[in-house]
């Protein structure tokens, strides 16, 4: 009897703290992502999510994070050819997400980010075409979630670059970035501990603010 109670107790305890393998694996990936500093770290995080994505064909989030982590790897690549090659890989994740979930704000924002990085490979040739594609993705993302901080920040970066090129006023872009920072802060307060939703980008927006101040 005592053994039975003990057993029931242990099982109940186990059941309460038992997280399903999927969530566990995703949390591990998010940890890796939060602590990632260099390309090696981001690759490790991406690989974790890639393994999950291969199993979970109806969930877009693992592919999203696998893609986001590889995007960070691409941003740190030294040569344009290597950048392009990694971005091609990210695009396969984005295409996979698009086939699962058409109108996902975060995925569209990531797509816009990827197009922006494509420009840096060959600005003269790709500038006009890819800025247009990036703007289109980001605008669509904005229509799905007006105040998404990542969307606001990426739009700020895009119009800042454009304004710089044409020698026009960059203040509009900087205001947009300030708005994104406000959203980052307010949304961070509301998020639950075990949430798997994307929350990256505040550091980028902070660093970008410094550019605006110059």
């Amino acid at each position: 009897m005592k053994n039975l109670l003990f057993f029931i107790g242990i099982s109940a305890l186990a059941a309460l703290s038992f997280t399903d393998p999927y969530t566990q694996a995703m949390m591990k990936g998010k940890d890796l992502l939060e602590q990632a500093q260099d390309q090696q770290d981001f690759r490790a995080a991406s690989n974790q999510f890639a393994r999950i994505a291969e199993r979970e064909h109806d969930k877009w989030l693992p592919a999203y994070y696998a893609g986001y982590a590889m995007t960070m790897v691409a941003a740190m690549e030294a040569t344009p050819e290597a950048k392009d090659e990694v971005l091609d890989h990210v695009q396969t994740y984005l295409d996979k997400i698009a086939s699962i979930e058409h109108n996902e704000c975060e995925a569209l924002a990531l797509q816009g980010f990827v197009y922006m990085l494509r420009i840096s490979v060959d600005p003269a040739t790709r500038g006009p075409e890819y800025s247009a594609m990036s703007a289109a993705s980001l605008q669509k993302a904005k229509s799905l979630d007006e105040n998404n901080p990542r969307v606001l920040h990426l739009l700020a970066q895009l119009s800042f670059g454009s304004a710089q090129f044409f020698g026009s006023d960059t203040s509009e872009a900087c205001q947009l970035n300030d708005l994104s920072l406000e959203e980052f802060i307010s949304r961070a307060k509301e998020v639950e501990d075990e949430s798997l939703d994307p929350n990256w980008g505040q550091n980028m927006a902070q660093a970008f603010k410094a550019q605006c101040e110059n």
């Binding site: 242990i10 090696q40 690989n47 393994r51 086939s99 006009p128 247009a132 594609m133 289109a136």
Partner: protein, 710 residues
Amino acid sequence: MNILIAMPQTTICGTVWDEQKSTIAGANIYLEGTYDGSSSEADGTFCFSTTYTDSVVLVGSFIGFNQYRQEMVLQGDSVKIEITLVQSASGLNTVVISAGSFEAGTGKSEVLRPLDIVTTAGATADIAAALNTLPGTQIVGEEGRLFVRGGDGYETTTFIDGMLVKESYDLSAPNVPTRSRFSPFMFSGTQFSTGGYSAEYGQGLSSALILNTKEVATETRSDFSFISVGLEAAHTQGWEKASLAGKLGYFNLDPYYNIIRQDIDWTDPPTTLDGNLAFRQKVGAHGMFKSYGKFSRSSLAFNQDPFTLSPALIHMRLQDQYGHLNASYKDLLSDKWTIRTGVSYTYAQDDIKIDNDAVREHTRGWHGKVVFGHQYSDRIFLRMGGEIITSSHDQDFVESETGFRNRFAFSERILSTFIETEWNLSRELVARLGGRIEYNNLQQRISADPRLSMALRTGEDSQLSLAYGHFRQSAPADLLRIAQDLRSEKATHYILNYQWMRDRRTFRVEAYWKNYQQLISFDPVLPYVRESYSNEGDGYARGIDLFYRDAESFRNIDFWISYGYLDTERAYRDFPVSASPTFTSKHNFSVVYKQFINSLRSQIGFTYSYASGRPYHDPNTLQFNGKRTPSYQDLSANVSYLATSQIIVYLSISNILNRENIFGYQYQTEPNSQGIYEGKPITLPAPRFLLAGVFVTLSKSKSVNQLPHL
């Protein structure tokens, strides 16, 4: 927190290597279908544990490498394994054949980008004119068409999305340069071949201009152009998976000719009305349907001085109607098979009135094609297909005074099939072997033409490549209509090329030899009689082309230098003996310079072109085509200024040095009283061409404008 039931744990550890025995960091090593796995460390080692048992598959993957798979059975013992990843055959590493080909696109082996073609000074956004700054092309300033390596203008054939395009040049008066009917704005990729091109393409004796139109446009925009010679309005509507783009243009050179004197007595300067429509639709996950239609109407009229001993002005009137329709579809049939298919139709009607005599010409043609691609293995790719090309042409001539009528006509049908294999023998060596079989109904013959090309990587940034092939082209319409059973003209190409490309610098040197056979010759005394025609002509063209391009050494500056040496002679058409044709010169040299000046928000460009004297025939001398014109030299400039992000101001001017270029000489048909044939030089109707324009783009995103097209 795991449930405390004992389960066997197997640890799997090891190291990841590449074929050169270097370790790979960041590779993904895992058990297929599970979350269990890990990422290899900086030293290539990995270690992870799993509770799975029995049969599993260990997978290893890393970008740019083939997936590694190893079946194993886990029984709780630890596993130590060394994994070697193999670089994938496609991607950055493979060698791409460059012999005889300049590719401009978004690929990695390109020498020119589409932007380069369009921003070249002196080209005024005409494809042929811009390509004329590349080695292997001959400057024939009064013609405006592409002449490649000693070949005549008709020897270059144009393809759009794989489909043949006939009559690809605009209507123009004699000795007034023509332009391509197709604006470079439409194209995302251009492959300009100066010889030795793929077995997929035929009916181009010297070269193939392979143009690929843009994919689906994602942005909706409107473009308006106001130019000194006309107006254009275009609108592109983009949806998620489809886009529709339309353009309407009206050009009239009357105002321009009133301001800048021309040496032609125009009664009606050239006017053109044209429009085009392009529709794209993504089909399924990988397919694309493209459809393109173009129509145009042009007319011009002028008084021509016939340059005979009894000069009376002849009034010439030319009218042209043109339509081209093209539809193509490409898709993946499976993960190893692709299909590309298309159909095109071209219609052209030309009306020429010489005083009261009238000539009317019709050209109509269909082209239907299907090509299958098959990834036979990791290293071998097969391409095979079939096509049908029809051509019907007629010319009706009516002499008003006597009522004499004459009609020449032909209807040609060519069926062909081709097969080609691309074989990556290693990462350093690739070979392309193929052949074409053609049946021509007018000749009632079946012909077979082999093609072969290879490329060998000689260093990290350099390659050696060669190309060999048989090429044939049926007789040009103006000859075929008189003698319908003429055989095709043939050429054999031998090309050897060395290319070095690193960062944004390219160096190329290419040597070639073309051997022409079965060229069509006729007796000039009786040009309208079938018996005068034969395929007895022949010729050769050989030379060396050099090219250097540098977009790296100087900030915001991009320039290229090209030089071609050509030695050619042929006996064809009405040539009494073998001689160098008038459209060739021994030396061709071009320098193209472009610079973007940030502070002025402008791009400026200069092009300098030089061609040594061209042959011409002086009837006062004995040697046919024995004399040479003075050299051709031209310095052109253009400027694009970004007034705002939506408005661009453009100015272009040719022949800044004000040189009177002479392209040849025209002689009287009879000698004068002293027994001398009088001659006069053939020059352009005006010393230079000026173009000014304002381009406006309206779209939701302010960063979109027409700069890439200027």
